[in-house]
Subunit: 214 residues, 2 copies
């Protein structure tokens, strides 16, 4: 694999599309497709072929002119770029409805993510298991995170506890936070935060539908 172009900064938009490429390639592979063009791939994802070629070109040359991309090879390359060949240990903080749902996904689809612990404060939940993963009291966070080498924390606690949970995760040594609380969390710059704000989707929908019907 050719190395990515050294110091070039890659746009967030590009990075966010790579998982889509990866997943679609995987599906294609399972269908027995061995070669795919940027045109066909783009059609499946809903992205222009130029976009795909541009995105990929930031990392190297993965295709064959006049032919297309070898599905298997491109998948492997994108997987490597995304770091999906590694093993990531994750923990879920907060067993509400959403935390429970996420815990039950068990293996987050693109392999590599392993749920190693769940944290909560409810005495009724401590010591129980979801999908063979134990629920610990938050007070044991640092201990467990260190012991199990957990790098990513998922925040699914109620909004008012999100900031303190984030702070605890950072103190425990976590490197990345996947935040589902509808609030901005403040953490050091070295921590990578991805926020999912589910309420935005519905509200923006409301905006567009309002306009449509008059």
């Amino acid at each position: 694999m050719k190395e990515s172009k050294e110091n070039a900064v890659i746009s967030k938009a590009t990075i966010d599309r790579l998982p889509l490429y990866y997943r679609t390639l995987k599906l294609s592979q399972e269908e027995g497709i061995e070669i795919i063009s940027s045109d066909e791939l783009g059609r499946k994802i809903g992205v222009t072929p130029e976009q795909i070629r541009k995105d990929l070109s930031a990392f190297g040359e993965f295709g064959k002119k006049g032919v297309g991309y070898y599905v298997r090879e491109l998948m492997r390359n994108i997987g490597e770029i995304l770091g999906l060949n590694r093993k990531w240990n994750i923990a879920i903080c907060g067993v509400g409805h959403l935390g429970w749902a996420l815990a039950n996904y068990a293996n987050f689809s693109p392999q590599g993510f392993h749920l190693q612990a769940i944290f909560d404060i409810d005495p009724d939940k401590i010591g129980r298991y979801i999908n063979e993963v134990e629920i610990f009291h938050v007070s044991r966070m640092k201990e467990i995170v260190t012991e199990r080498d957990i790098q990513i924390g998922i925040i699914t606690v109620p909004m008012e506890f999100a900031q303190s949970t984030a702070t605890q995760l950072v103190e425990a040594g976590i490197k990345g936070i996947w935040n589902f609380a509808p609030i901005k969390i403040n953490v050091p710059d070295t921590i990578h935060v991805v926020s999912e704000d589910l309420s935005v989707g519905l509200s923006s929908m409301s905006y567009y539908l309002s306009r449509q019907n008059g």
Copy 2:
């Protein structure tokens, strides 16, 4: 309220920030804050004050120079812009872990969204209730959607059923789809689709963390 500037097209990025403004204003109001500057609001949300003023200026003049924004008034205006003063009837399709979690949110935080029906195909689930909302068999979708004037459908079915569910929702007369299946769904242009692709978050996290640690 001054009307929005007639034919100006408002960017998707702006629309997606309005719910954040709304929610933060609501929290501020609950704290008893009556006036807020773009600077303070931006600090709370993690957006520059210029961004906020620019976004709002697309719809009118809501502030007072040298003073700031009246929280209550700005909230009302943004709520009106987003159509949150309306009542939206929604239905959830697919009672897996995620569908179940969403059904239990009951009142989606910015009021106005009312869960009116849940659809599934599992005979064991049909006829049951989640939070006082009945689970119907998918075959009754058109009937129920019409009867209860449902405008928004939420797709939380497994990937392989997402497209057919979308098609059924459209045939039933739905106007917007909130799609949680990690796949592109094809629907007529008149239908507004918002997609939440939860797997992207973790994969992009993997990318950034890989780079960080070397």
